[in-house]
Symmetry: C2
Subunit: 225 residues, 2 copies
DNA sequence: CCATAAATGTCGATT
DNA sequence: AATCGACGTTTATGG
């Protein structure tokens, strides 16, 4: 990893065109070949970057300004850095990273809800998780207290896209006479107002899930609402 | 901006739980208070980070290991860094960045297409951009050569989602007798095959836009196809 | 401040 | 290569 602090201007030409006026910035060269240009704010996103694979060509302007031209191997995208003044330049050997271990994403929510399917209502029974269809797996398929089939779409954040997704599943599932009629439940930790409106318009029920509460329930203690 | 290269382990507890085993990494402290942890790969994406506003508390473990606890002001998210060995530590004054100037994003495409609405066909006239509806603004509303209302959904990359979005608008607009019948046009720099199929199925026309050509047209010279 | 939509989204799995 | 869905999405914009 090479760290350069320098006054530079940047021009990107690729998926869009972008320009950064001359100013002091951090240039981050990683071992994977990627390059990113950071200002002194925003933790996550650099001002400009180039993904690997890419190559750097160093050259010099008429007036002696150093120019680094970064070209992406496949797409031909280009990043042109004009380097006016280097304040710092150091290289460090880091080695391969053991990597990030994550916990608590949608997969876990699905497990929990499948385990506590009565969260959706009294008498609910699980048919199966990841019920396969031609257009992809339905997160959870179950039956309600009256024996009707229910398709559940699960999200951490319930957006309008999720409702569309569930709508497609319902349309498909309802063509199967052995399942039809299939009801829809849109379940998420948080459901956006627009998603709620669209779901209501399509006759889809909305359920907000409390992750901590679900995790806290004893496996054999169904919770009633 | 402070650059630290150190062997560290990281624990994040917030929207999810995540752990990074002890390894050498770059710690990037920015002037806005944000912190990011980078490995020597994964392009510009940090392994872990904390957005401002957040505060750092330094402490020491029983066995003398330095511990930096980063807490997010609002959400209470936490990032705990255990620092074993510092290889490098330098601070640099960068100042405020003039910022990135972009060209070629959807907003710009919309301006250009509105200005050259006859790109869609001879006789087209603009009604307005960002035509408001209950479920969000239609990118462009216009009339074709025969006086029919046309709703245009604009994307840089035309995906299936965009067709769904336009479909929702059309359904709503067609409930208004003063506008109905409203045709749909899906316009993008690039339209994915599936999006094209779905659009055709819904009677929506597809138009691929040439950004450079649009920009090159003289304002008062309509282009005919 | 909340809600929404765009993004050079990125990333991974699957076909 | 294309598609699909998740992401601690992040970021910008408008109310």
């Amino acid at each position: 990893m090479r760290l350069v602090i320098a006054r530079c201007s940047v021009d990107y030409a690729g998926r869009l065109t972008a320009h950064l006026p001359m100013a002091p910035r951090l240039l981050l060269f990683k071992a994977d070949g990627s390059i990113s240009v950071h200002a002194d704010d925003r933790a996550f996103k650099p001002l400009n970057w180039m993904n690997p694979p890419c190559s750097v060509k160093e050259s010099t302007d008429d007036d002696g300004t150093e120019i680094w031209t970064v070209t992406h191997g496949k797409s031909g995208e280009k990043l042109v850095l004009r380097i006016e003044e280097i304040q710092h330049d150091s290289t460090h050997a880091l080695g391969a990273d053991p990597g990030l271990q994550k916990d608590g994403v949608e997969a876990h929510l699905q497990e929990l809800l499948a385990e506590h399917i009565t969260t959706l209502g009294d008498g609910y029974t699980l048919i199966r998780r990841e019920y396969p269809t031609a257009i992809g797996p339905v997160d959870i398929l179950c039956r309600d207290g009256e024996g009707s089939t229910v398709a559940v779409e699960l999200k951490r954040r319930g957006d309008i896209d999720g409702v569309e997704q569930l709508t497609r599943y319902l349309e498909l599932l309802n063509r199967d006479p052995s399942l039809s009629p299939v009801k829809g439940v849109f379940a998420a930790q948080e459901i956006k107002p627009q998603a709620r409106v669209l779901a209501a318009d399509r006759g889809i029920a909305c359920v907000t899930l409390d992750y901590d509460a679900l995790r806290g329930i004893e496996p054999d203690t169904p919770r009633l609402f």
